[in-house]
Symmetry: C2
Subunit: 166 residues, 2 copies
């Protein structure tokens, strides 16, 4: 088990230098992908991509905005937001599971898991005995107070899938 970016436990992210070396290659791949998808390669897109590619901290749009602003002082937050969504669309980034949705409450204390439609944001329950007692890795339990370990599935529900086809 490798904790890849857990600074609290004193782990050092040894991947950093590698990341910078790789950035050139990553950028090339990114350019290529943009061309394939007929997306214009703009300075804004490059900077947003770079900010995300070298980050290990799962930044919010605001945090990426702050970083990009250093290179492009009058970039707009809207552009950063749009670009982040574009990057997710083409698969070079993704939205951390569950984040970005309104706070939802659950009064069902029985053992169960959730799956969510990423389009309509509906959340469904399911129970799968195999997942009832899933254990977080031990060294995570040693370094942190573990409250809950769940399996989380992101789906597109039938309704949204059909809507998408039209």
């Amino acid at each position: 088990m490798i904790i890849t970016s857990c600074k609290l436990k004193g782990y050092i992210n040894k991947g950093c230098e590698l990341k910078l070396v790789n950035l050139e290659n990553k950028l090339e791949a990114f350019y290529k992908l943009c061309k394939e998808r007929k997306l214009k390669i703009t300075p804004q897109r490059i900077e947003v991509y770079k900010a995300l590619a070298v980050s290990t901290s799962h930044p919010s749009a605001d945090e990426v905005y702050a970083k990009v602003k250093k290179a492009l002082p009058n970039v707009s937050l809207d552009t950063v937001n749009r670009t982040l969504n574009t990057l997710s669309d083409i698969g070079v980034a993704f939205v951390v599971e569950g984040s970005g949705d309104v706070k939802r409450f659950d009064g069902n204390l029985d053992n169960h898991q959730h799956f969510k439609c990423v389009k309509c944001k509906k959340i469904f329950d399911f129970r799968y005995e195999q997942f009832d007692n899933i254990q977080a890795p031990r060294n995570l339990e040693e370094g942190f107070k573990v409250l809950r370990t769940t399996v989380y599935v992101e789906v597109i529900c039938r309704m949204c899938f059909e809507k998408e086809q039209n």
Copy 2:
């Protein structure tokens, strides 16, 4: 495997009548818990608790608010919000994993899982080979387009844990 509240696939929630029968018992237990925790049993708390206890749809604060408003027309949204948080604090409800946080992006496409501190909202990566190829239950894969299956761990990080002690 039981899909407990998946209406899209035509499953009917057979638990509904049972839920209403159980509500009385649940309420009694809730009153008892409130007394233990020195929390006043107010009409607002009762209605919020009831709304959540009979719901299977992981409602947002707004949705609970709308429901409670029918019984208590001039309840405030703030009260509903506070009460929902109180219910989470005493353990009779919980916040659906990941929801309620700002949208966060991840540029790391390598196979990995996330754990999040519920206090400071920081997200950390970890890799645990066992979780690399975790499979959603088959009948879920049949009814929905599954995009991603991850293990999600909620923790309190050391910093926040120590802060809490003081």
